[in-house]
């Protein structure tokens, strides 16, 4: 059954690593997100598939501009014009929601799973908080500067509290609060949207993420917080809805090195306590190695290689993965061995991409077939889930077939292929 739903994908049917014994909480299939700009159509995310299991940390790693953050926003349905999720399925395991939706939207339901792309917008919105929540890269710009931190946390709690009070109506969560209600509630302090209970719970959450003097800090504005403290507050805010899947988008990039480790420890502890799944997005393989159970390597909007940590770190197939691993400085061997990958991520403009491997121009092992046709995602050695989008998965590198000449030559050849 899962095979049908997953289309060309193999079912994650329980062989291999121990994390795959259960059904995944989230199955992303062939997700594509495009931006329609004046310069042309940009394929920010192209046919991305991966699974996230209960209680695991799944990592997505890649350079900036590889489509990691857009993937996260696509899952939360937060992509904004001129961008749009154009294809794919996001299957989320939730028996209650599946029962709710089975009659009205049978096409979006499959067993215990619901395709969040095919349920109405209101339902999709209501999943934000209790199902998905997100930690953003830069805490300073991700809090409203003119509202106290406590109030912003309390809002996140309140919206879920109100939803639980009215469980039968997923839609009323987001649509039942109109402008009229807002105006009357704002004029009367006693009828404020956020209840005293939620405020109390917000202070509790601040405590839980290790912010001292939480009651006082709750009354402060974001600009009175340090970056690290504010990121803790953001973690607390993301926990407010007790989410099944927490997406952390570069949660430590904007922070000092010393603070980074604290936030990562906090996330690891909380993930343990709350038994939620985490999607960790980062450009730092060190973070992946430290935090994650399984990982997907993104390049130019695609997942180039994915699998367990051992698959990707010890038996990488894709030359891009190898390149990333080689570019990590080794603290034990500080000799100048650092090998940056030549070149830059391509522009992703649809008309310039062509039916070819997007990495070929930078690839030290590029061969003629790399620019002849785009490689499909195929199984490869290692765990059952080790999949890679590279011709080297099926044949050895053959120097005699190497792509020759300058980059310009290759580009010309490539465009002649179109």
């Amino acid at each position: 059954m899962l095979e049908d739903r997953a289309g060309s994908e193999d079912a994650p049917d329980g062989s291999g690593a121990d994390t795959t014994t259960a059904d995944p909480i989230l199955e992303v299939r062939n997700l594509s997100t495009q931006f329609f700009t004046a310069e042309g159509q940009v394929n920010a995310v192209e046919s991305v598939s991966f699974d996230v299991y209960d209680g695991e940390i799944f990592g997505i790693v890649g350079e900036s501009g590889s489509g990691k953050s857009v993937t996260a926003l696509s899952i939360l349905d937060l992509v904004e014009s001129p961008g749009r999720v154009t294809a794919g399925e996001i299957w989320y395991r939730n028996p209650d929601l599946a029962d709710d939706m089975r009659d009205s939207h049978p096409e979006a339901v499959e067993g215990e799973y619901v395709d969040t792309r095919r349920v109405p917008t209101g339902v999709r919105r209501s999943l934000r908080g209790p199902t998905f929540s997100m930690i953003f890269q830069d805490p300073m710009s991700s809090f409203n500067p003119s509202i106290t931190v406590g109030e912003q946390l309390a809002e996140a709690i309140e919206v879920q509290r109100r939803a639980r009070a009215n469980p039968r109506s997923t839609r009323s969560r987001t649509q039942g609060y109109g402008l009229g209600r807002f105006l009357t509630d704002s004029l009367l302090p006693s009828r404020s949207y956020v209840s005293a209970e939620s405020r109390e719970r917000a202070t509790g959450l601040l405590d839980q993420v290790g912010i001292p003097d939480s009651a006082e800090r709750a009354a402060e504005y974001p600009n009175q917080f340090s970056g690290g403290m504010l990121q803790r507050a953001m973690v607390a805010q993301a926990l407010a809805g007790e989410p099944d899947v927490l997406i952390a988008d570069e949660p430590t990039t904007a922070l000092d090195v010393t603070i980074q480790a604290q936030i990562l420890d906090l996330l690891a502890d909380l993930q343990d306590e709350e038994d939620m799944s985490v999607i960790m997005i980062t450009h730092d393989l060190g973070v992946i190695a430290r935090m994650c159970d399984r990982v997907g390597v993104m390049y130019a909007g695609e997942i180039a290689e994915r699998g367990s940590l051992t698959d990707v770190f010890d038996r990488p197939v894709h030359p891009y993965t190898e390149g990333l691993l080689e570019s990590i400085p080794d603290p034990d061997d500080p000799a100048p061995r650092l090998q940056p990958i030549e070149g830059n991520v391509p522009s992703l403009i649809d008309s310039e991409m062509g039916n070819r491997c997007y990495f070929a121009d930078r690839c030290p092992k590029a061969m003629d077939e790399c620019v002849a046709e785009k490689p499909a995602e195929v199984d490869t050695a290692g765990s059952a889930e080790h999949r890679v989008r590279c011709v080297l998965a099926e044949r050895e590198y053959d120097p005699t077939r190497a792509l020759s000449g300058t980059e310009e030559d290759r580009e010309r050849e490539a465009s002649a292929d179109d």
Binding site: L73, L76, L78, E80, R125, S126, L127, R128, G129, P130, F132, S133, M134, F136, D138, S141, S142, F143, N144, P145, S146, I147, Q152, E155, A156, V159, Q160, R173, T174, Q175, G176, Y177, G178, L179, R181, F182, S186, Y193, Y221, N223, Q224, M234, Q237, A238, A240, G241
Partner: protein, 329 residues
């Protein structure tokens, strides 16, 4: 409290500005050709009469004595006597003040009530017909001289349709309201409306258009910002995303610009009054300039300047309330 200290600081700065205003107003007379005596004295006045007038007005005193006299007079509410009618200037000026305030307040209320929802609508329905309509309206609104708009309103509503009054003030809001309370009659209020509607529209349109533009572009900026994404990720209802979060932050620059544009509001009131014969400070300023009635002109300018400073302090306080960070800076 922090907010109280902030207001106090702004008030002290305001006093300095008011002092500057008074000094400029006082100095204006000395950089202007013509002698006040010729305004007061009859054309055939003898040199003795002219001397007597000069002595009475203190025109022979050294400049600093005249300046201190004027400052001390103002502190006691004394603006001198009109050169023309020889009545107390302060009495004339303050008699005109309520009419101008009423016009400016009504125009501002109309502008704020229309423009902010319109700006939000325009931003949230971007590139839809409602947005195009609002954009077109606001572009035309900031490009239309309010005196001409006033005349066009008169042409359409008074000359052709004969609905509204085109000149004068009618009963005034306070007496219209007291009529409603004491006699239970809405006639006064209706009459008040028939007088104030056209001038308020003429004066308010520019501000409606300006605030619509600012609100639209501000909302677009805020709705595209990182924190709005984070607020949406929490699952908050769109109403709260728009009004509690985005609009609130949009109002911060809107209030700043409004404070800066207050002068335009008062200047606009002056010319609107001229179009509709509204008995306010504006018409008083224009007649006193033509007549070279210095005490009236100076008194009006001082009142306008002080009013501007007071409203600015109020705007800054509102600003600090909406955007609490400024208090701590």
């Amino acid at each position: 409290m922090a907010l109280g200290r902030f207001v106090l600081k702004r008030a002290l700065q305001g006093i300095v500005v008011v002092w500057g205003v008074v000094t400029v107003v006082f100095g204006l007379r000395f950089i202007t050709p013509g002698n006040p005596i010729s305004v007061i004295a009859p054309l055939d006045a003898s040199p003795e009469t002219r001397q007597a007038i000069a002595r009475e007005l203190g025109l022979n005193d050294p400049l600093y004595v005249q300046y201190l006299d004027y400052l001390l007079g103002l502190l006691q509410g004394d603006m001198g006597y009109s050169y023309i009618s020889n009545t107390q200037a302060s009495a004339q000026v303050f008699a005109r003040l309520p009419a101008t305030l009423e016009l400016a307040v009504v125009a501002t209320i109309v502008a704020v009530v229309i423009s902010i929802p319109l700006g939000v609508l325009s931003a949230t329905r971007r590139n839809e017909p409602a947005d195009y309509g609002a954009t077109l309206f606001s572009l035309a609104g900031i490009s239309t001289p309010n005196f001409w708009l006033g005349i066009m309103l008169v042409l359409v509503f008074a000359v052709q349709l004969e609905i509204f009054k085109t000149s004068g003030r009618g009963p005034g809001f306070v007496s219209a309201l007291s009529m409603l309370v004491t006699q239970g009659s809405a006639a006064g209020l209706l009459s008040w409306l028939s007088y104030i509607t056209l001038p308020a529209l003429a004066l308010g349109t520019y501000f409606t258009a300006l605030i619509t533009r600012l609100t639209r572009s501000g909302m677009l900026d805020e709705l595209g910002s990182a924190y709005v994404k984070a607020v949406r990720a929490k699952g908050l209802p769109e109403t709260l995303v728009r009004y509690k979060h985005a609009l609130r932050n949009t109002l911060v620059p809107v209030i700043t610009v409004l404070g800066l544009q207050l002068g335009t509001l008062i200047g606009g009131a002056v010319i609107t009054e001229a179009v509709f014969d509204w008995p306010g400070l504006g018409t008083l300023v224009i007649t006193s300039i033509t007549a070279r009635d210095w005490p009236i002109l100076q008194g009006s300018l001082v009142v306008i300047g002080v009013g501007f400073v007071l409203i600015n302090i109020a705007v800054d306080t509102l600003y600090a309330y909406v955007n609490p960070q400024v208090v701590y800076e």
